[in-house]
Each structure stands twice: as structure tokens, then as C-alpha cells.
């Protein structure tokens, strides 16, 4: 037994090997939560990026070489993410796409930066990620403050006077809730309730009962779609007809599956939905995706990872080099009006995406997400 243990340890140390090989391909890393709580997002990201790489390779790859996508699982957890990042840095990747979750992204930022690899995050909206001066960090996702601003505007515009704000204590949802709270107060809208639910539970009637007691005109929920779906459904079960507004994390087709008819009338803010991507390019790609995987991408975040991939390729192509500093420099300065799946893309000096991305959606009686006019 001892011997077999030793053999295992030996195998372990060998298995961790497999360093960089000769560069006859251009490697692009994808860091995504393939396991853990956000595995569904991660797997969507992987599908999109792999399909895009396939298409790009069919067009001849980049710099005349085929693209190889190297996927690492970050498990949706910062510690695993830092290992995944270290591993990608040893594989000679020219750029990294990902990941979903701000704190997970944050755990990997310094590692890529020190290794000189550009990182294009997709589902990471925390403000501070781009406030640290990393020159090779970009994101295709908008920032929380933009969404907060949008949320406050929308509430004001729809004429609600008493708002209840509910988040789920995650870094993202809390940040958005705080942002909206401050802006609403400034606008003179009364915030009658501010608290957090515990995600991953099934029964939120206790919370809804308390919310109802505060008697708001509207509820702003900044958390994720599974909880949003349940809140809507259970709210309806209580015969309570208050309107709900959700943040961009509620933008997921499963929301309607969970909430059923109760989803009708639900507002949410989001970058455009995959199916609302109106460019012919995006439409064609989604058709290909549907053909290959027999489903639509799980959410806009996976699409933003796809944009991240395209941007990474554009950077390499534009700089005519797989060198990180050069391609990052190109992305900062020279990339303008890049046709992404989610619309046109350009980055500011911090690496944030320029332009307003958010739209207001409303769920109609058939459960469709209908984009509202600006």
C-alpha cells in the first residue's frame, strides 16, 4: 500500500507537468467556472469560445497560425482561480478570456499582469477591477456604477416613489444595491427597505412577507436569476402584485422557466440579450451556436466571453504579435468600433468598455424578454 501511495504521489507530480510546447499555434486561455455553483455560466462560456475559435481557424486563424483554446476551471472560487491562472501562465497563452465573478477575476488579475498576459474579463462588473492601474486588463462587461445609474434612472422614470432594495450579499449584488441606494436617495426617492437574502434556498416567503410589510411601490432585486425566479413565483402565490426590477444577473432564460407565468411584468436591466443582438454577424453566430449545441447561450455573460475572445484575437492581429504588451497596447489605443456580438466595442484607458450598454427589458405574457425603448 505504501508503495502504491508513493506511486500516486509520483504520478501526481508528473501529472502536474506538461509545460509550454513549441509555438506552432497561438494559444488563447479561457478561465471559466466549469464546476461549482456557476458551472452553467462557465460551460456556456466554453461552448461559445470553442465555437468562435473553430470559426476563426476556418478563416485561417491568427497571424497565419491556428488558434488553440486552453480552458482552465476556476471552480467559481478565488483560490482555485489563482491556481488556474498560474497554470495558464505556464502554458504560453497570448491572452486570457474570463472569468465570471468579480472576486474570482480579482484573484487572478495580478498573476496575469505579472506574467504580461492580457486578460479580458466577461462577467466581472465590480468597479474596482479597473481602478488598480493594470494595463493589460480589459472587460467586455459594463461596470456596476453604470448599471446602478441606469437602475436609479429607470425607477425614477417609471415614477416609483417608495423602493425596496433586496440583494444577496454577493460582492456584485451588494455593490449594485449600494450604488442604486445612494443614487435613489439623492434623487429623493424613498428607500423603505434594504436587506439581503441567502442565495440557493427555495423558500423566500419569509422575506417576501417582510418586504410586503414595508409596502413599497417597487422592489429592486440586484441578485441572480434563480432567486429572482423564486421571488416572483412566491410573490404571486401571496397575491402580491408589486412590480419587480432586476439587475443584469437576472437575465437568464431559466428565469422564466422557474417563475412561470409569474414572470410576466418583471423588468430587468441588462446588456442586450443574445437574441436581441441585432447585427447580422451576431444573428448568424447565434444560428451556428443553436445548430451546434441545440440551445441558446445560457446568458449574455457567455456572449461577452465570446466578445472577449474576438477582442483578444483582434488585439493580436492588430499588433501583429502575440506579445501581451503589444496586443494590450493595441486594444487600448487602436481598437475602435470593433464589431462585437454584443455591439460595438472600444476600451478606455482603464480597460473599461466605452459606451452605454444597458437596456431595460420587460417580460411579456408569453415569457419573452422584450427590450424597451430607450
Amino acid at each position: 500500500m505504501k508503495k502504491s501511495l508513493l506511486a500516486m504521489v509520483a504520478a501526481l507530480s508528473l501529472g502536474l507537468g506538461g509545460g509550454a510546447q513549441a509555438a506552432d499555434t497561438v494559444k488563447i486561455g479561457l478561465m471559466a467556472p466549469l464546476t461549482g455553483s456557476w458551472a452553467s455560466e462557465g460551460q456556456g462560456m466554453k461552448k461559445i469560445v470553442e465555437l468562435l475559435a473553430e470559426q476563426q481557424n476556418a478563416k485561417g486563424g491568427v497571424l497565419g497560425k491556428p488558434i488553440e483554446v486552453i480552458v482552465e476551471d476556476d471552480g467559481g472560487d478565488p483560490r482555485t482561480a489563482s491556481l488556474a491562472a498560474q497554470r495558464l501562465t505556464t502554458k504560453g497563452v497570448a491572452a486570457v478570456v474570463g472569468t465570471y465573478g468579480s472576486s474570482v477575476t480579482e484573484a487572478s488579475q495580478a498573476i496575469y499582469d505579472e506574467a504580461g498576459i492580457p486578460q479580458i474579463a466577461n462577467g466581472s462588473t465590480a468597479i474596482r477591477l479597473t481602478e488598480k492601474g493594470y494595463q493589460k486588463f480589459f472587460r467586455t462587461a459594463p461596470r456596476d456604477d453604470e448599471q446602478g445609474r441606469m437602475a436609479a434612472q429607470t425607477i425614477e422614470k417609471l415614477g416609483f416613489k417608495k423602493v425596496a432594495i433586496l440583494h444577496d450579499s454577493t460582492s456584485y449584488a451588494k455593490g449594485l444595491a449600494d450604488e442604486a441606494n445612494a443614487l435613489l436617495k439623492k434623487k429623493g426617492v424613498e428607500v423603505v427597505f434594504f436587506d439581503a437574502l441567502t442565495p440557493k434556498e427555495s423558500d423566500y416567503t419569509a422575506i417576501l412577507t417582510k418586504l410586503k410589510g414595508a409596502n413599497p411601490d417597487v422592489v429592486l432585486f440586484t441578485g441572480y436569476y434563480p432567486e429572482a425566479g423564486l421571488l416572483l413565483k412566491q410573490k404571486k402565490g401571496m397575491n402580491w402584485n408589486v412590480p419587480f426590477i432586476g439587475g443584469d444577473a437576472t437575465n437568464n432564460a431559466d428565469l422564466v422557466k422557474i417563475a412561470g407565468k409569474a414572470a410576466e411584468g418583471f423588468y430587468f436591466l441588462s446588456p442586450p440579450q443574445p437574441q436581441d443582438l441585432d447585427t447580422p454577424d451576431a444573428k448568424a453566430f447565434l444560428a451556428d451556436y443553436q445548430k451546434k449545441y441545440n440551445e441558446l447561450p445560457p446568458s449574455i455573460w457567455a456572449v461577452l466571453a465570446g466578445d472577449g475572445f474576438r477582442v483578444a484575437v483582434a488585439g493580436i492581429e492588430g499588433a501583429k504579435s502575440a506579445d501581451g504588451a503589444k496586443s494590450a497596447g493595441y486594444l487600448h489605443k487602436d481598437l475602435k468600433n470593433f464589431p462585437g456580438l454584443s455591439g460595438s466595442i472600444a476600451f478606455d484607458a482603464k480597460g473599461d468598455r466605452e459606451g452605454e450598454v444597458y437596456r431595460l427589458y420587460k417580460v411579456d405574457a408569453d415569457g419573452n424578454f422584450v427590450m424597451q425603448k430607450k
Partner: protein, 318 residues
């Protein structure tokens, strides 16, 4: 220890210091991760393995240390390594405080209480208790450690910091194991009533085990904070406590070398299975089950007897 294992241990000890020379940064970082978990598991081993107290909330003490270090560093600009003793003290004191009223609970009741303490700490951190933990965002901008003017930044550098601390821990804990204190923990693990009846203040020793184990976990937390430069509550979830628990039992409760070996496996295996992508945790769970079934006493159970016959005959000569 037989000759084969002795020579393998000697080989590992001889080779490990040179590991960064022939491993890439990722592999070194995996070793760093293993080292951190080895530290944590060794500290849990004092409580769970030596004293037999079911602690499934060890991440709370780890968090206590990491946050103490991070707050002292970011708010008061105390160099991160200087906070090492302070975060140890903070975690130890916290453990004494929370363990005091529940120290009489037995077995699984103590287990759920420690789980509860772990969750309460995590929830408190998420809700930004006292306004200093940064809530779900955690604390960022922790400065890099400096040792004699040398800024520790790269995984290769952390390797020596972490494994140096692991080596020191092993050295001290092995000695402690064979001391009056270490024996007292074993007595109360084996039979609390008999231990008390032999003149041992069992409550005091249970608390001491919690305090010392927590203090060590707190110091490991400091190293973690220094390495990550950002800490957030999700790094101290129930799952972390569960992993540490598994490491100690899988290694063989009370066995320092077993715990080390298990840290290699529990932290290393998921990395080894990276190629399996989505299935890697499935295989990991299966391997855990199988290893336990094949080696119910742990991979490398504690050695008995620990007082050698040579020591016995030596003692007889005045």
C-alpha cells in the same frame, strides 16, 4: 518507521527545497497551495486528531487570522509578516472565547457547533461586521511581504516562505506530540473521564487545543492573505472546513506525516484531474471514498508506541 519510508521521507526532504528549480510557476503555486493547506490541516490535527474534538469549522479561525492581518496591514500599514503573531493571537483568543461555553459538548454536537461558528463568522464577514471587513468584496490591496528587505512576490519566493513555515511547524508539532502537553491531548481523546481522574484538567486542555490550533490556523491565514493580496469571505466557506477535515482524517488522525501526505493528495488531486475538466470533482469524490475504504485508519496512521524502548531503558539508568 521502516527503512523504505524513512528513505522516501529523507528523499522528499532533500529534494523539496530545490523544487522551484525544476518546476514551473504553476506547479510551484500548487505546492504553495498544498503548503498552506498542510499548515491548516496540521493545526486542525491538534484539535481533531490529537485531542479528538470534532472541529468542522476550522475555516473560521483561518479567516480570523487572515482578516486580522489584512485589516492591520491595510488600515494601519503594519508590514504583513509582522502581523503574524498578532493574527495568531487574535484567532486563538477568538477560539477560546467561542469554545469556552461549548467545550462540554460531545462528538457530533460539538461538530455542528463548530460548523455553526464557521458559518456565523462567514456571514458576519459578508455583512461587513463593524464596517471593517469589506463585506462580500473582502479586503484588497494587502501589501506584499518583505523579508530582510526582499519583497516576496513570485510563487517561487512564496514557496520558501510557506514551506519554511511548514517545516518549522512540523518540527515544533512533532516535539509537542511527545511532550506532556501532547500526551494530555491524547489522554482526553482516549477517555475523558479517566484523564480527569488521572489529575488532568480536561477542560483546560480542550481549550488549549482549540486555542493553539486556531492560533496556528490564524497564522496560516496571514500567509494566505499575503499571498493572495485580496481576501474575501468565500475563501473561508464551509467547504474549506470540510476539506481540512477530510485531510486530517484521510491522513490518519494524529499523524503529522499522514496529514502532510493527505494535504498533497486532497489539494493536489483536483489539480491532477484538471484534464478531466467538468468531471474532475466527480473523480475526486470517488477517490476519497475509495481511499477511505481501502485505508480506514488513514493513509499513514499515527505511529505507536511513540516512546521507544530505547528511551525506556535509558530512563532506568540514573
Amino acid at each position: 518507521m521502516n527503512r523504505l519510508t524513512l528513505s522516501v521521507v529523507a528523499l522528499v526532504v532533500a529534494v523539496l527545497p530545490f523544487a522551484p528549480l525544476f518546476l514551473n510557476t504553476y506547479q510551484v503555486d500548487v505546492l504553495n497551495s498544498i503548503g498552506l493547506y498542510a499548515l491548516l490541516a496540521l493545526s486542525l490535527n491538534l484539535i481533531l486528531g490529537e485531542a479528538g474534538l470534532f472541529d468542522m469549522g476550522h475555516a473560521a479561525f483561518y479567516a480570523m487570522g487572515a482578516y486580522t492581518a489584512a485589516i492591520l496591514n491595510t488600515h494601519y500599514q503594519i508590514p504583513i509578516l509582522w502581523t503574524l503573531p498578532l493574527s495568531g493571537l487574535a484567532a486563538g483568543a477568538f477560539a477560546l472565547l467561542v469554545a469556552r461555553p461549548v467545550i462540554h459538548l460531545r462528538g457530533d454536537y460539538l461538530m455542528i457547533v463548530t460548523i455553526g461558528v464557521g458559518e456565523i463568522v462567514r456571514i458576519a464577514l459578508v455583512n461587513d461586521v463593524f464596517g471593517i471587513t469589506g463585506g462580500a468584496n473582502g479586503i484588497f490591496g494587502i501589501s506584499r511581504p518583505k523579508l530582510f528587505g526582499w519583497v516576496i512576490r513570485r510563487p517561487e519566493e512564496f514557496f520558501y516562505l510557506i514551506w519554511g513555515f511548514v517545516a518549522l511547524t512540523i518540527f515544533l508539532f512533532l516535539r509537542l506530540k511527545q511532550s506532556r502537553f501532547g500526551r494530555a491531548l491524547n489522554y482526553l481523546r482516549e477517555d475523558e473521564v479517566a484523564a480527569e481522574g488521572s489529575g488532568i484538567d480536561t477542560d483546560a486542555y480542550k481549550l488549549a487545543a482549540f486555542g493553539l490550533g486556531a492560533a496556528w490556523a490564524g497564522m496560516a491565514g496571514t500567509l494566505f492573505a499575503a499571498k493572495m493580496t485580496i481576501i474575501s469571505p468565500e475563501s473561508f466557506s464551509f467547504w474549506e472546513s470540510v476539506m481540512l477535515f477530510m485531510i486530517v482524517i484521510l491522513g490518519g488522525a494524529g499523524s503529522v506525516l499522514g496529514v502532510l501526505l493527505a494535504a498533497f493528495l486532497v489539494i493536489g488531486l483536483p489539480e491532477l484531474f484538471r484534464e478531466l475538466a467538468g468531471a474532475r470533482m466527480l473523480v475526486f469524490g470517488l477517490v476519497m471514498m475509495v481511499m477511505m475504504v481501502v485505508r480506514p485508519q488513514g493513509l499513514w496512521p499515527a505511529q505507536t508506541p511513540r516512546i521507544s524502548l530505547a528511551a525506556l531503558t535509558g530512563a532506568r539508568k540514573p
